[in-house]
Subunit: 212 residues, 2 copies
């Protein structure tokens, strides 16, 4: 499977036997935009590694949502990894954001076995946890100590695309879902930022103005 070469590279997976095992037991699936890869409450039976595309992983509660993280090319869903080590239900949902996505699926039992057999797989596992833990920690801290206004500004600056003039292409509702709040609140805070000349608002587009 040539599609896996970049993944091997990125993760430092070298052992030929491991590569063979991945190719034997893993299978690649293709998905379209908006498709749900994981639903809250579902039992997780395979580890999902995103080969191509972009996936949003979030928690939901009644009518609210909050972002946990995005998966980009060659990233692993930490939560499905976590689930592999003790079979449990998912507490999150995952949805395809890009036009299409390619996912490498690995049945759970191999995931744990390989940790013992292949150092590079083990390293990959630990590293995934470590990274995710730190990211979640940072989010937790932001949520606890920062106002929505600050979190919004941070979100915008982190997601503004420099190649398109620092624009974020999202609706207010989408942003509200990232931050765990409601549309009206986001609309109002954005309006305030616009009055302060820190952003320019358009249809589904927010341009960040860096005065510096």
């Amino acid at each position: 499977m040539k599609a896996l070469e970049p993944f091997y590279q990125q993760m430092g997976i070298r052992e030929p036997a491991l590569r063979q095992a991945i190719e034997k037991h893993g299978f690649v699936t293709a998905h379209v935009a908006q498709e749900r890869l994981i639903k809250t409450g579902e039992y997780i039976k395979v580890l999902k590694i995103l080969l191509q595309g972009r996936v949003r992983v979030f928690q939901e509660s009644e009518d609210r949502e909050i972002l946990i993280y995005y998966l980009s090319q060659m990233e692993t869903c930490t939560l499905s990894l976590s689930a592999c080590f003790g079979d449990c239900q998912s507490t999150v949902s995952a949805i395809v954001e890009s036009n299409q996505a390619q996912v490498l699926n690995i049945p759970v039992r191999y995931v744990t076995d390989w940790c013992h057999q292949y150092p590079s797989w083990n390293h990959f596992t630990i590293d995934t946890f470590r990274h995710s833990y730190q990211v979640l920690m940072e989010s937790y801290s932001m949520l606890a100590f920062k106002t929505l206004n600050e979190r919004l500004w941070e979100y915008l600056t982190n997601n503004a695309c420099p190649s398109t003039n620092n624009v974020v292409l999202m609706s207010h509702q989408q942003i509200a879902n990232e931050l765990g709040t409601t549309r009206e609140v986001v609309s109002r805070l954005l309006k305030k930022l616009e009055k302060q000349q820190r952003i320019r608002l358009g249809q589904k587009s927010i341009q960040i103005i860096y005065s510096s």
Copy 2:
């Protein structure tokens, strides 16, 4: 070191060579109440495993604090574990809550080496991450979707000691520091709960009343 036997048991550490290595390179330190084990911003050079006592791990920001987790007997500080795999500064503080505490310290480089050498150590590492990740996830979700009132009630019921008539022995300030808010807010919410006959208030003590 006989003090380590319960730790070995609990973590399933069997390999004699590993036990020897732990006893050779690890060292046990004793601490008193209120002592700081880790300070925010500090570089972490040893993995800390709590053999005895109780330690509070929390984040702070200006005049606020929020609980990350408690360490009890035989538990490992996940954050120091995380730090072992890529040297970085601590984003949290840890403080001894019990009268005294005993900590097993293991220099970082062994922590990573042993993962490759000893299956049970590796298992211990992954399990620690997995567990902590789930706990943090749950906290994150609570913080995002629940009101302070709900979080307070949950905190009280989780921390009420059944052996002492469901009493929580803490000041309002301490509770505020667990939940990431201020003393006055906690005082008022507690008063409201008392009026609803769900708790009884005393000096540094809150008794939960289960009407069921």
